[in-house]
C-alpha cells in the first residue's frame, strides 16, 4: 500500500523474497515437509493482493476503500487425493505447520522433492504498473466522474447514476515438488456504471462496464467512461418501452461480444477436465464426436494481451495457451490442470486456477470465444421471420451433469420479417449444452470480445474470465418470457 511511487515495482519473485523473507531454502523445506508422509506431488502458492475501489453516487464521491491480503496455500496430491492447508501468516513456523497439515492426506514413507527449481518461462501479456498501489487516485476519480456526467446528460429520465472503479494487483509465486517455479504480477481493473431510469410509473435499470489487465489507457473508445455511461443509460431508457418477452421455442440471433456467455455456459464448463475425469459431465466421452454445427469453432485462450481472462502463468505455475475446444463442430479437447492431466494422460492446458490462496485449484476457463464465420450480420438478421435478437446478457448458469444451461438477456428485441422491432423485457434463455450449438445455422464475420466484465463461479470460487462471439443464428432455442 505504501510503496513510494518513485520506485519501480519489485520483480514479482523478489517481492515475496524481500517483503516476506521467503527463501529458496524455505520453499524446499516446506515442500519436504509437505511430502513427509508420501504423496505424488506438493506445491506452495503464495499470493499477495492489493485492491482499491472508488465510487461516485448522486454526483458525490461517496466511497473509497482499499484492501490488502497475503497468504500461502499448500497442497499435497496423492493419487486422486488432495490435502490442503493455508495460512495468512507467512512465518517459517506457520508455513511448515500448514505443510504438515496438508501432508496428512498421504500415509507412506517420506518423499524428496526435486532439488533445484526451474522457472516457468513467463509471457508478458500485461503491464505491471509502477508504484504498486500508491495510485494516481485523481486520474481514477476522473474516470467515474466522467461516467457520471455522461450518464446524466444522456436523458432527463435517468434519475440515478452510480459509477465505480476497482483495481487490484495480485502477486503470486508458485513452487512445486517437481521443480516447477513460477511467479507473476497480475493487474486487473474495471469501470462500472449503473443507472436507474424513471418515466411515470415505470422504473428500469441499466448497467455497463469494461476493464482488463491493463492500465488506465484502456478506458478509451468502447471502454471510455462516456461510452459505458451511454450504454448503461441507453439500456435503461430502452427498457422503459419494452414489451413482454415471448415464451417458447423460436429462432434466436445472438449479437457479438458478451452474448458469448452462451459458450461459457453451454460448453465451457462441461469441458473442464475434472468433470470429465469423474464422468459427471454431459460432455464426458464425446471427444471426436459432433457437438455443434460444422460452422462452430470454439477456443479457450489465456494468452491474449491485456484481456481480463488472460494469465502469464496459471495458478499452478503452468504456461497458459490457446486450446481448441470445438473445431468445425467436433469436440477436440478438455481444459486440464496438473491433477486431471496426470490422471487422464492428457496434456496440461494451463487451466489450473483458483480464487485465492485459500482455495484448491481446478480446471477453469480463461477467455472463451467462437471464431468468426462467413455470414454478414445483416444477412443473418434478414433470414429470421419471427424470433428474438439478444445483444446483452446478465449472468448464466449450467448443470454440467444434464447439460441444461440458462443465460439471462438484459437487452433483446423481437425480430419480425427480418427486422428488429420492439425491445423486450428481461428473459432467461434455456438450452441443452451438447445439443444447443447443433442448431447454429449462421455464424457472422464479426467476432467481438466482451469489454472485460466477466466473473465465473465454480464450487464457490470466483475468477475473472472473458468471452466472445460473432453474431450467430440458432434455429431453435427456448425463450423464457411471458408473452406470445
Amino acid at each position: 500500500m505504501t510503496n513510494p511511487t518513485a520506485s519501480p515495482v519489485l520483480h514479482h519473485k523478489r517481492y515475496f523474497f524481500e517483503k516476506f523473507g521467503i527463501t529458496e531454502r524455505l520453499l524446499e523445506r516446506c515442500l519436504g515437509e509437505a511430502l513427509s508422509a508420501g504423496g505424488d506431488y506438493a506445491d506452495l502458492y503464495f499470493e499477495s493482493v492489493m485492491a482499491t475501489s472508488l465510487g461516485v453516487d448522486e454526483q458525490i464521491v461517496k466511497s473509497a476503500s482499499q484492501g490488502t491480503s497475503a497468504g500461502c496455500g499448500i497442497r499435497v496430491l496423492s493419487g486422486e487425493r488432495t490435502g490442503y492447508a493455508y495460512t495468512d501468516n507467512l512465518s517459517p513456523e506457520r508455513l511448515l505447520h500448514a505443510a504438515r497439515t496438508a501432508a496428512l492426506i498421504a500415509s507412506g514413507p517420506a518423499k524428496q522433492p526435486v532439488q533445484g527449481f526451474i522457472e516457468t518461462p513467463s509471457a508478458n501479456l500485461y503491464p505491471v504498473p509502477l508504484g504498486g498501489f500508491d495510485l494516481d487516485l485523481a486520474a481514477r476519480l476522473e474516470l467515474i466522474l466522467r461516467a457520471d456526467r455522461a450518464a446524466r446528460a444522456f436523458d432527463p429520465r435517468i434519475v440515478q447514476v452510480r459509477a465505480g472503479y476497482s483495481e487490484e494487483l495480485r502477486r503470486i509465486l508458485i513452487a512445486a515438488s517437481d521443480g516447477a517455479f513460477a511467479s507473476d504480477t497480475q493487474p486487473l481493473c474495471r469501470l462500472n456504471v449503473y443507472v436507474i431510469a424513471k418515466q411515470d410509473a415505470i422504473t428500469t435499470r441499466g448497467s455497463a462496464g469494461g476493464g482488463g489487465r491493463a492500465g488506465l489507457e484502456q478506458f478509451t473508445g468502447s471502454k471510455s467512461p462516456e461510452h459505458l455511461a451511454q450504454e448503461a443509460a441507453r439500456g435503461a431508457i430502452l427498457q422503459l418501452g419494452a414489451v413482454p418477452a415471448p415464451a417458447g421455442e423460436m429462432q434466436v440471433i445472438l449479437g457479438p461480444g458478451w452474448p458469448g456467455i452462451l459458450l461459457h455456459e453451454a460448453v465451457g464448463h462441461g469441458l473442464e477436465a475434472d468433470f470429465n475425469r469423474k464422468k459427471t459431465s454431459a460432455f464426458a466421452g464425446l471427444i471426436g464426436q459432433s457437438v455443434a454445427s460444422s460452422k462452430v469453432t470454439v477456443v479457450d485462450n489465456g494468452t491474449m494481451a491485456g484481456r481480463r481472462g488472460s494469465l502469464n502463468v496459471d495458478d499452478e505455475g503452468s504456461s497458459t495457451q490457446e486450446t481448441v475446444l470445438i473445431e468445425n463442430g467436433i469436440l477436440r479437447g478438455y481444459l486440464t490442470d496438473k491433477l486431471s492431466a496426470r490422471l487422464t494422460g492428457a496434456a496440461n492446458t494451463g487451466s489450473g486456477r483458483r480464487e485465492s490462496y485459500q482455495c484448491i485449484p481446478m480446471p477453469r476457463m480463461t477467455n472463451t470465444y467462437m471464431l468468426s464465420g462467413e455470414d454478414a450480420p445483416e444477412d443473418i438478421l434478414r433470414s429470421v421471420k419471427r424470433g428474438l435478437y439478444a445483444v446483452n446478457f446478465g449472468g448464466g448458469q449450467v448443470d454440467i451433469t444434464n447439460g441444461k444451461f440458462v443465460f439471462s438477456a438484459s437487452e433483446a428485441y423481437l425480430i419480425e420479417d427480418g427486422k428488429i422491432t420492439a425491445p423486450v423485457r428481461d428473459a432467461t434463455l434455456i438450452g441443452n449444452g451438447p445439443e444447443a450449438l447443433k442448431y447454429v445455422s449462421k455464424v457472422g464475420n464479426d467476432l467481438k470480445l466482451d469489454e472485460g466484465i466477466g466473473t465465473c463461479g465454480k464450487d464457490g470460487q470466483s475468477v475473472p474470465v472473458g468471452v466472445g462471439m460473432p453474431t450467430i443464428k440458432l434455429d431453435k432455442m427456448t425463450v423464457g418470457g411471458t408473452g406470445k
Binding site: M1, K62, S65, T68, L137, T203, K404, T428, G480, T482
Partner: protein, 465 residues
C-alpha cells in the same frame, strides 16, 4: 517439530482490545469517528468420492477492517496483516483515502444511544463441531455418499459426500463506545449422487444438513438417502409445452422468492427507487395470506440460535425482529443507518458488515409464516401444473419485478406428481406473483437463514417445447 505446536499469536490474541486499539489509532490520526471489525475463522472440510478421500482441507485466517470518518467524508480499508506495522498501514491508508472522498450529509456512525447488544446466551457457538476425531469426520462424509450409492442400482456415480466444520469470531468496536463480539460455529454433511436412466442420460441432485451444533446434524445415512431420492426423481425428465399453469415452489426454491422480497424491501434499493416495492410502505403488495418476518434473534426449536441470529448488527445496533410483510401489507423496509437517514426513517438494525467497504443490508432469519395445508394437499388441488424443485440463473430484476428463471421439477397431473420436467423456464412479475400466491404450506423448516414453506403461485408462464 516444536514450532508446529507453538501457534504464535493465534490463541492469545484479544480481538476486542485489538479492535478498540485500531479505533484509537484512527482517532489519533485525525479521524472524527472510526469503526473497526476483526474476524477470525477456522475451517475444516473433507470430501469423499466413490469411497475414497478426495480432498482434505484445514486452515484458519484472520482479517481486520476499518472505516474512518472525517466529518462527512468516509473511507475504509482492510488487511490480513495484523502486525503493528500492518495496522499502522491500514490506518494510514484509510485516512489517505478519506481525503479523496466528498462530503455526504447522510454518512456517519449511528447515534450513541442506539448501540447495544442482545443480552443472554444466544447459543451461537458449540465447540463440539470440532469434537469428531479426524478419522470420524472422513467417515461421516463416506457414510453420506455410501448411503446414496447404495440406495438404487441406477445410482452409479457421485460428486461425493462431504463433512465440514467451521468456527468464527467477529468483533466490532467504534469511537462512540461500542465494543462487542461473538463466536459462531457450523457443521455440515452432504451428498451429491448421480443417476443414469436407460437412455444414458445423467442427472445429479443432492441434499445436506447443517447446524451450529454437531448433535443437531442429520445422520449421514439420512442425507445420502434423501440425496438419492432427489436424484432418482429427476430421471426421465422431459420438456413440457409452453403454457400457463399453477406453479408449486418446493421450500428449497420458495426461499429464493422470499430472498427477492427482502432484496426489493432493502433500504438501498428503496431510496434509489430501484425496487418494485419503492414507495409501497403501508400498501397491500401481496396476497393477504402472506406474512414475512426477519427475526435476527430467533432461537430454533432445539434451543440453538438460528442461522441468522446475532447479538448486534454490522453497526453495533442490537438485533431485533422486524415484520416485513403482514397479511400482505408492506410494513417495514429493511434499513441500516445510512439508508434510514436517506429515507428519513430509523434503522431496523439490518446493517451487514464485511471486512471491506461500507455496511450493506442483510437479513437475519428471514421467513414466510407457514399456512395450514400440507404440501400434498397443495399438490392434490391442482389438475395440471408444475412442482418446481430447482431453479437456475439470475433472471430476477427487483427494479421492474420481472422474473424469468430456468426450472426443473415434476409435472402435476390430476393432483399427483408424475414425470420429471427439465429445460423449461418459469416467468412472471414479482409484483403479480406475490399477489397470486394461492396456497401456503405448513412445512416451514429452517435449513439455513432464509426459509419458506411450500408455495403455490398462479398465473406464471412456463416456456418449453
Amino acid at each position: 517439530m516444536p514450532e508446529a505446536t507453538a501457534q504464535p499469536d493465534m490463541i492469545d490474541l484479544d480481538l476486542e482490545s485489538m479492535a478498540a486499539d485500531v479505533v484509537a489509532q484512527a482517532m489519533k490520526a485525525g479521524a472524527s469517528d472510526a469503526e473497526a471489525v476483526v474476524q477470525e475463522g477456522d475451517e475444516f472440510s473433507v470430501s469423499v468420492r466413490m469411497g475414497q478421500v478426495e480432498t482434505l482441507k484445514e486452515s484458519g485466517s484472520r482479517g481486520l477492517g476499518l472505516r474512518v470518518f472525517m466529518g462527512k467524508r468516509s473511507a475504509s480499508a482492510s488487511t490480513s496483516d495484523l502486525t503493528a506495522e500492518g495496522i499502522r498501514q491500514l490506518v494510514e491508508g484509510a485516512m489517505a483515502l478519506a481525503k479523496v472522498t466528498e462530503e455526504d450529509p447522510f454518512t456517519g456512525l449511528p447515534e450513541t444511544n442506539e448501540f447495544g447488544s442482545v443480552g443472554g446466551d444466544l447459543h451461537l457457538y458449540y465447540e463440539d463441531v470440532y469434537s469428531l476425531p479426524g478419522a470420524e469426520r472422513i467417515e461421516w462424509a463416506r457414510r453420506a455418499e455410501a448411503a446414496a450409492l447404495a440406495a438404487d442400482p441406477r445410482i452409479t456415480n457421485s460428486d461425493g459426500g462431504s463433512f465440514d466444520a467451521a468456527t468464527g469470531r467477529k468483533v466490532l468496536a467504534n469511537s462512540r463506545g461500542f465494543v462487542g463480539g461473538y463466536r459462531t460455529s457450523y457443521a455440515g454433511v452432504s451428498a451429491a449422487p448421480l443417476a443414469v436412466d436407460a437412455n444414458g442420460h445423467m442427472q445429479r441432485d443432492g441434499w445436506w444438513s447443517s447446524a451450529r451444533r454437531l448433535a443437531d446434524l442429520a445422520t449421514p445415512e439420512s442425507i445420502g438417502q434423501e440425496a438419492a431420492r432427489r436424484t432418482l426423481r429427476r430421471l426421465g425428465a422431459r420438456r413440457v409445452p409452453t403454457q400457463r399453469v399453477p406453479i408449486v415452489f418446493a421450500p428449497e426454491v420458495a426461499r429464493s422468492l422470499i430472498g427477492s422480497v427482502f432484496e426489493a424491501a432493502s433500504g438501498d434499493a428503496i431510496w434509489r427507487h430501484a425496487s418494485f416495492l419503492a414507495g409501497k410502505l403501508g400498501e397491500q403488495i401481496a396476497a393477504s395470506s402472506l406474512t414475512i418476518i426477519d427475526d435476527n434473534i430467533m432461537m430454533l426449536p432445539t434451543g440453538v440460535g438460528g442461522f441468522g441470529t446475532s447479538p448486534f448488527d454490522g453497526e453495533g445496533l442490537p438485533s431485533r425482529r422486524t415484520v416485513v410483510v403482514e397479511n400482505g401489507v408492506l410494513r417495514n423496509y429493511l434499513l441500516n443507518t445510512y439508508t434510514a437517514r436517506k429515507l428519513g426513517m430509523q434503522s431496523t438494525h439490518n446493517a451487514a458488515r464485511g471486512l471491506a467497504g461500507t455496511p450493506g443490508i442483510g437479513c437475519g432469519n428471514l421467513y414466510l409464516e407457514p399456512g395450514t395445508l400440507t404440501p400434498d394437499e397443495i399438490i392434490a388441488a391442482i389438475p395440471a401444473g408444475l412442482y418446481v424443485t430447482s431453479l437456475m440463473g439470475f433472471g430476477v430484476n427487483v427494479v421492474t419485478g420481472d422474473y424469468s428463471r430456468g426450472a426443473t421439477g415434476l409435472w402435476i397431473d390430476s393432483g399427483k406428481l408424475t414425470h420429471a420436467v427439465e429445460e423449461i423456464t418459469v416467468a412472471g412479475n414479482l409484483a403479480e406473483m406475490l399477489n397470486n400466491v394461492t396456497a401456503i404450506g405448513n412445512d416451514l423448516v429452517f435449513r439455513g437463514s432464509v426459509a419458506s414453506p411450500t408455495l403455490r403461485i398462479d398465473g406464471m408462464t412456463i416456456a418449453g417445447a
